[in-house]
Amino acid sequence: MKPGRFAYACPRTLDEALALAANGEAKCLAGGQSLMPMLNLRLARVEALIDLNRVPELARLERRDGILQVGATVRHRALEESPIARELQPLVPRAAREIGHLAIRNRGTIGGSLAHADPAAEWPLVAALLDAEVTLASAGGARKLPARDFFLGPLTTAASPSEIVTAITFPAAAAGTRFAFHKLCRRPGDFAIVAVAAAIRLDANGRCVAASLAVGGAHDVPLRARAAEGILTGSGGEIDAIRSAADAAARDCEPGSDVHGSAAFRRRMVTVLAARAIREASAPAA
């Protein structure tokens, strides 16, 4: 299992990287934790690789205008341990901890994960939940896309072959928002069979004033469960509301089947995990 031949370039600036990408024939290499297995298995074939790991502009993790701006090659482990991320958007380090294993988190990057667009992966789910924006750049300029417009299908994004994912921005969590991240997998560290993330804000009376719910692994893209959010908003955490929101989330999904779970099982798990995530995120602060 050795990769086929390819050419390689290691740009030192974003402009160099964009120039290399301009003809759309090269593939970007970030952390390599998804691309390299595909190359080794010869399930993917590339003519040329652009190694983004030495582009300083892509490696920044910073607070900018009160939002969390994460460069594409920031590694999972850096996000897991980042005080800025913890402060601005606590779901980010929480989700980072769930990704793979130590050596994978050391090397894998958020931009690589988003560009790979596995609907069962952590970052696409978090991006969908938090209405994150993905910045795409090409030699012709940059554009920002909300997560909902970025993910088009399994392993398919709105990025054109000459565009590079350069950054993702997460809005700061509104004060009082509580998060939950529930992932069902066969063994800790595996890709999710189904994952559900929730962000819920209650008012002083315990009534839900804002609810976001997103589902991974049960649809061809990370799915925002809008109907469920509608049911939850304005509710008071009643069992019936939670149940009908969880059911609504499951209804919105069109899961596929694989050796880890059938479509029916995945749909059922959406109900279970959504209910758990909603309950956790709407529990009063400890």
């Binding site: 031949r5 080794n40 994978i104």
Partner: protein
């Protein structure tokens, strides 16, 4: 800036400077094993699951089957061959021996490299933290309990 099929890379491996011309597609694991003869880095799956090929790159544990040799240009790479000081075992090696933490030994290098990283960032891990930290390395012989004990014992010895 142009694409190249081969490159000359310079790096430090176990404290020694190395310069080699390598094909762009060459995996770091193959570079270490075949080009430098550092065969203690083992290949168990070549798709980033088993962890047998784990090495330290600038101190962080990484899977050397998922890294190209050209990507290690300029890096400091550590393999099992560099762990002991002369003939004296590192506390992790000693603890693995004392606790029967290996049987066939094929996964052992990867576990030791992962444990180095784990203990560098968390000098006093609890059992659950050790199990979580080692979960990316597969061992088929030991059932893990003795490895967990060995890492805990090494952590104590190193504090």
């Amino acid at each position: 800036m142009e694409f190249q099929d081969r490159r000359t890379i310079r790096l430090r491996v176990n404290g020694r400077d190395v310069e080699r011309d390598v094909e762009a597609r060459r995996l770091l694991a193959d570079f270490l094993r075949e080009d430098l003869g550092l065969v203690a880095t083992r290949l168990g799956c070549e798709h980033g699951v088993c962890g047998a090929c784990t090495v330290l790159v600038d101190g962080a544990s990484v899977r050397s089957c998922l890294l190209l040799a050209v990507q290690a240009d300029g890096a400091e790479v550590g393999t099992l061959e560099g762990l002991a000081e002369g003939g004296t075992m590192h506390p992790l090696q000693q603890a693995f021996w004392d606790h029967h933490a290996l049987q066939c030994g094929f996964c052992t290098s990867g576990f030791l490299m992962t444990a180095c990283d784990l203990l560098a960032s968390n000098p006093d891990p609890g059992e659950d933290e050790i199990r979580h930290g080692l979960s990316g390395n597969l061992c088929r012989c030991t059932g893990y309990a003795n490895i967990v004990d060995a890492v805990a014992a090494a952590a104590k010895a190193m504090r």
